[in-house]
């Protein structure tokens, strides 16, 4: 088997590139270790049964991850659609300052391109993903409106919006990859509040539904149950293809002119480490960022019907997003307001933290929370540290005998200060809105939805793994198009930037394909 471009990973990053390349006539094959999502396989059905944690889910598609030395458990969905299957579809572009962290704040690194360079790609992927939102947010530079109108911000959003107006704080209707009108044959959203598990009307954009059928009609070949095991190089150091195992454990080699990785910050770096390539910088697997995440839930006396609504984000606030030296830390966090779901969600660690409510007080506590609450989710910017990393486990292997990933991750003092400040401010927000009780989840362990930074992009091969187009400095026909390449994490949900970057890289490859250095 051979192809022009072989992509590893069938999530948003992989399919965005696959769709664009195959539409241009490029022969594309995508290897996906999981399968098509079926209701009942762990991301559907009763709300809290779903788990994004591969160590808990333990499906055949999941490689165990040793997270025993990590403050945060990594989360993901391994299958067609990737983590769009279980994400909340919160759609946030980075801000211009997020691309210039070193220049503005003197920490970490600038990105090798600017917001302005990525902005046209943001607009295009927003149409692909059917993003709903409200135009004119003054937290961003002027840009075109998202393709769909914002979702109802519901009673909780209205209360907090009014409170922020009184406080003089920023808020804005949330942007989500959730179709508020019928869009490209799916939706519209009916506010069932099931976005984190499964959307019965397919209003939430999951790329198995929204992207893959079109990519396959354009000619992309999708191979499921195919776990990439190593990238092979020729004598000139060009990638020749990928060795993968099928469901039975049998090995295959798929030849390709170009290899493109889209396996998230753990899967991609593990594959590079297993292959022993593209690591002259020593940074493959290093600088893992997972967005330390805290919650502050407000409980209100009034009935808010907070089991309904997009989930997603009803409203956002970027009031404290940008750096302010007076706060004692650098960078900031995005807040997204979410509903709190059905009664069974009233006791889950997300968003309620780990406090005990069991026993005699159980029914009273659930009665206070259920329907009467809203939660600020705080996505804190995670600064890169080479000590936070993905490594190959020295002892443990998967079913094929290859090392599983081990992650080492500790939050920093900057993170601790950042989350303490933001949780205090979120409490202030909710109190101003009339909350009579607050529950703080200071740092949720099972919150590693965003796996970033383990194959940093940059201009200098000595200090980065790939260039600004995602091309490996060491292997010129190897690209990485997922969040692994992020030099910094920003404090934003990353799917918008991952998809925009993937599209930008795919188009660069198309423009440069006649000059592409491929195996002899």
């Amino acid at each position: 088997m051979s192809t022009d471009v072989l992509i590893v990973g069938a999530g948003p990053a992989g399919v965005t590139a696959a769709g664009r390349l195959s539409a241009a006539g490029v022969r594309v094959t995508c290897l996906e270790q999981g399968d098509w999502h079926q209701p009942g396989d762990g991301a559907a059905g009763t709300a809290v049964e779903a788990s994004s944690n591969p160590n808990r889910r333990r499906s055949p598609a999941d490689v165990p991850i040793d997270d025993s030395e990590s403050d945060i458990a990594p989360l993901m969905w391994n299958g067609v659609g990737g983590s769009s299957i279980t994400y909340a579809a919160q759609w946030t572009r980075h801000l211009p300052a997020d691309f210039r962290v070193r220049t503005l704040d003197g920490v970490a690194d600038d990105w090798p391109f600017t917001y302005e360079e990525l902005e046209p790609y943001y607009e295009r992927v927003e149409r692909q993903f059917g993003v709903s939102g409200h135009p004119g947010d003054p937290a961003y530079p002027a840009t075109n409106a998202p393709p769909l109108p914002a979702a109802d911000i519901r009673a909780s959003g209205r209360k907090i919006a009014k409170a922020h107006n009184e406080l003089g704080w920023h808020w804005w209707p949330g942007a989500n990859a959730i179709a508020t009108r019928r869009y490209q044959g799916r939706g519209p959203c009916t506010q069932l509040g099931l976005c984190r598990w499964i959307c019965p009307v397919q209003a939430k954009t999951t790329v198995d539904v929204t992207h893959w059928p079109e990519a396959m009609r354009s000619g992309t070949q999708l191979v499921t149950g195919a776990r990439a095991q190593s990238i092979e190089l020729d004598s000139r150091g060009r990638a020749t293809g990928v060795v993968y195992t099928d469901r039975s454990g049998e090995e295959h080699f798929h030849e390709a002119s170009v290899v493109m990785l889209a396996g998230n910050g753990i899967g991609t770096s593990r594959l590079l480490l297993l292959s022993g390539i593209a690591n002259s910088s020593g940074l493959v697997g290093r600088r893992l960022m997972m967005h330390p995440y805290a919650t502050v839930a407000g409980i209100f006396d009034e009935q808010l019907e907070s089991w309904q609504g997009v989930w997603g984000q009803l409203i956002t606030s970027l009031q404290f997003y940008e750096s302010d030296p007076s706060r004692g830390f650098v960078r900031g966090a995005k807040w997204g307001l979410a509903p709190t779901g059905p009664p069974e969600a009233s006791v889950s660690p997300y968003p309620w933290g780990y406090g005990e409510i069991w026993g005699q007080d159980f029914h009273h506590q659930v009665g206070r929370r259920f329907g009467h609450s809203a939660v600020w989710g705080i996505v804190g910017e995670d600064l890169p540290s080479e000590d936070n990393c993905v490594e190959l486990h020295p002892d443990r292997t998967d079913a094929t005998g290859r090392s599983i990933p081990k992650i080492r991750y500790r939050t920093s003092e900057n993170t601790d200060r950042l989350l303490a400040f933001h949780t205090r401010k979120a409490e202030e927000s909710l109190r101003a809105a009339g909350a009579t009780d607050l529950v703080v989840g200071p740092l949720l362990r099972e919150s590693g939805w965003h796996l970033l930074g383990t194959a940093k992009m940059g201009d200098d091969p000595a200090t980065s793994v790939v260039d600004g187009w995602g091309r490996s400095h060491d292997v010129p026909n190897l690209f990485i198009v997922d969040g692994s390449v992020f030099p910094t994490s920003a404090g934003m949900n990353p799917t918008a930037t991952v998809a925009a970057f993937s599209l930008r890289s795919a188009e660069h490859l198309l423009r440069e394909r006649l000059n592409q250095d491929v195996p002899a």
């Binding site: 914002a150 109802d152 209205r158 009916t190 506010q191 009664p343 069974e344 660690p349 069991w358 159980f362």
Partner: protein, 129 residues
Amino acid sequence: MTALATAASTLIPAADGYPAGGDDDVLRRLVSNTSAEVRDAVAAIEAGNGDLVALRRTHPEVVDIFAGALVNAYYGTPAVQARIGYSGPVPQPAEAESQELNELIAPVLVRGPIHRRPPQPDVARGGTP
């Protein structure tokens, strides 16, 4: 009472017209859960005679898994749904009412842009990428 019922009723006691977590219907739903980790947790509870205090000392994650599965089963039972007055969300149009939104965001717009404008790379470091 079985070990499983003891543990379930310890976490969710009967009160205020609510059945206990150890109610037969709840336990039927609980043990029908096909998740491997839930099956393992249920087995551990039974092996420990429903002593949650002891199990939490040695395997707190098992108690958390059991409790999560229990609460799912609990709120799936008709008796509990009837008592709490909730049997699921109701479809509602999702689109925001634009006039209301525009009135609410007016003060945000009045305050103006809040993002920083970084210098462009050619100014900041002498060249574009």
